[in-house]
Amino acid sequence: MEAFTTHTGVGVPLRRSNVDTDQIIPAVYLKRVTRSGFEDGLFAAWRGDEQFVLNREPFRAGSVLVAGPDFGTGSSREHAVWALMDYGFRVVISSRFADIFRGNSGKQGLVAAQCEQSDVELLWKLLENEPGTEVTVDLTRNTVVAKDFTAPFTIDEYTRWRLLEGLDDIALTLRHADDIATFERNRPGWLPNTEPVPVS
């Protein structure tokens, strides 16, 4: 995973709340078995509309998405994060994220930056009044800066550290392989395993 310290890119205002993962990437795109190339499915239902923000210059090349509250609700599909990242987004800003989406983001290197809704509104206005405005998201200082707009954002400390270091989850856990083995030795014997049992 690539380390993330600071990123500057065109901000994209998405004035919608409750953007669920079906909206981010519809189920039909989930059928793929690869790990890349999901950008074509991003917001697929809305991309058909010429007026949709990503169909307009200069937002097309955006990399910082500014969305309404409750972003990423619904199905746990990680493809939502892949689609956003494959498209080129590095950061999503919202006043509230769904838990699973936030978890998935941190693991893939997408920054889910939580701002106050009032700051999101200010940012929306700025990006709409001056399309193409670049937004800088600084993970070392937890700030969002665009022109003379500055706001703090929150992200949980552990995820932040991992993003800053670019650390892979599994490698981190496997440093505790001994603890896992000890735990396994102490599990009660009556717990089920999935080996087939003859059905009587």
Partner: protein
């Protein structure tokens, strides 16, 4: 110290306590796989040269995009076929037990685990699917995870996690006839909102919950995710033990007694504190249906389509306006006057034997209305076999409904079972998002009883309307 049920199960699985901002490392007792969220995880293992740590705690089934007709033929859709074939290859390569299409134990992953007795009280259960919360009905801590977490569990049989907050949802009283677990959970979601459970494990308790069967408890826990929660749980009791006894993977002999003794300890202690509490009175509940495009947009069937103008919160008002325009509904229309084209009975929410029985009871002696198609899709092949043994399929067929093979089907429309643009369904599934059941499709979430009555009348109805 007094602890909640969720805290007890959590503590029993901590491999290593995190320090500072570091999460706890939690052991996972059961990992369920299906064809959609596993391929990239298997790929990740391969790329990193890592083995699957515990194939014996892992089980796979084909469900999300399998066809529910002509299952002996190759899957027509090339992408679905690739996913299913990839799962078969991965399971063979990594030594994972798989129940493929056509197998007697195949079905929706959340129906299969419980019916095999693999889901037991006090376990940690995960799956790359948000409705893993279903298994919480047994007093297990069960939650959905993303594909990279799937890979993590495959490689380590653990997950780094921060403790969840706990919320008690107490439903006291007695449900009136015709009011089901589905109505309870839809009412809960309408009360706390689709984000209300965020960060929480919900524990459902109270006399109305204790009176529910295991199937009904699964329906309630299943939709915890629609309230934004990570998981839902119900303390195990005699109902739970009776359901489990004799299932293929349930403990037996002396192990059974040891297990039951432990399971009995899995109750929230007297005086334990929840981070939040919600109370509902079961006597107040009536059949509930959704009118909008998120599961929180629901009302009693006797109500009318709400007027967005009357909603104070701006975000919610805009959401309601958008929902009504998508759903093609006018404020003020009685919900009972809404015509549907399709009725879907199935899914991991309401595709179990009890759901089929309830719907069949309503349909017996009636016909599905002219111009309405009804799909009955059992949650698993075992449910299907059981239903056929009871003659339920004959009731469905005689009423003019379609009797299908097991799978997720129209719950998410990844297989050919989809709504066409503008079509409207009454669906026993769990999500009414835009396009969920097919592009442009409009979904009303309902209970199996309401689904069956709606099929007969052609408009949203409850069995009481059928006299």
């Amino acid at each position: 110290m007094s602890r909640t049920l969720a805290e007890k199960v959590w503590e029993a699985h901590v491999v290593r306590h995190g320090t500072g901002a570091e999460p706890d490392l939690l052991y996972i007792d059961l990992h369920l796989l299906h064809e959609v969220t596993s391929p990239q995880a298997f790929d990740g293992l391969r790329q990193a040269g890592r083995p699957l740590r515990r194939p014996d705690l892992t089980i796979a089934t084909e469900d999300h995009n399998v066809p529910t007709v002509d299952i002996e033929l190759p899957i027509a859709d090339p992408v679905s076929r690739t996913q299913v074939e990839t799962l078969r290859k991965n399971c063979a390569d990594f030594g994972v037990r798989l129940h493929p299409m056509g197998d007697a134990e195949q079905g929706i992953v959340h129906v299969v685990g419980p019916q095999l007795g693999l889901t037991q009280p006090g376990m940690t259960v995960v799956c790359g699917d948000s409705h893993t919360s279903t298994h919480g009905a047994f007093g297990a801590l069960a939650f959905g995870i993303g594909t990279s977490e799937v890979e993590h569990v495959m490689a380590t049989q653990t997950l780094p996690l921060k403790p969840f907050k706990t919320m008690a949802i107490t439903v006291d009283g007695t449900l009136r006839p015709g009011v089901t677990a589905k109505d309870v959970i839809l009412a809960v979601i309408a009360r706390i909102g689709t984000g209300g459970g965020q960060g929480y494990v919900l524990e459902y308790r109270g006399s109305a919950i204790e009176a529910l069967s295991m199937e009904a408890r699964m329906t309630v826990c299943n939709m915890s995710i629609e309230a934004g929660a990570r998981a839902g749980m119900i303390a195990p009791d005699q109902t739970t033990f009776d359901y489990l006894r004799g299932r293929p993977h349930a403990p037996s002999g002396a192990d059974w007694d040891t297990a039951v003794e432990y399971w009995k300890s899995l109750r929230t202690d007297e005086g334990a504190e929840f981070d939040a509490e919600v109370h509902l009175d079961a006597d107040d509940l009536t059949p509930f249906v959704t009118w909008g495009t998120n599961p929180g947009q629901g009302l009693p069937l006797s109500a009318s389509v709400p007027d967005p103008e009357a909603i104070v919160d701006e975000n919610e008002r805009v959401a309601a306006e958008k929902a009504l325009s998508y759903m093609g509904l006018t404020a003020g229309t009685p919900l009972r006057d809404i015509h549907v084209d399709t009725v879907f009975l199935g899914s991991c929410t309401n595709g179990r034997i009890e759901d089929l029985r309830a719907a069949a009871d309503v349909l017996r002696g009636h016909r599905v209305a002219e111009g309405v198609r009804m799909l009955v899709v059992p949650g698993s092949m075992r449910v299907r076999a059981q239903a056929e043994a009871e003659g339920l399929h004959e009731v469905f067929l005689a009423a003019g409904a379609e009797w299908r093979q097991a799978g997720c089907s129209m719950c998410l429309g990844m297989n050919p079972d989809q709504l066409k643009p503008g079509e409207r369904s009454a669906s026993t599934s769990n999500r009414n998002f835009e396009g969920r059941q097919g592009k442009g499709g409009r979904t009303h979430l309902v209970s199996p009883l309401v689904a069956a009555a709606t099929a007969v009348r052609g408009t949203l109805s409850s069995p009481a309307d059928l006299v």
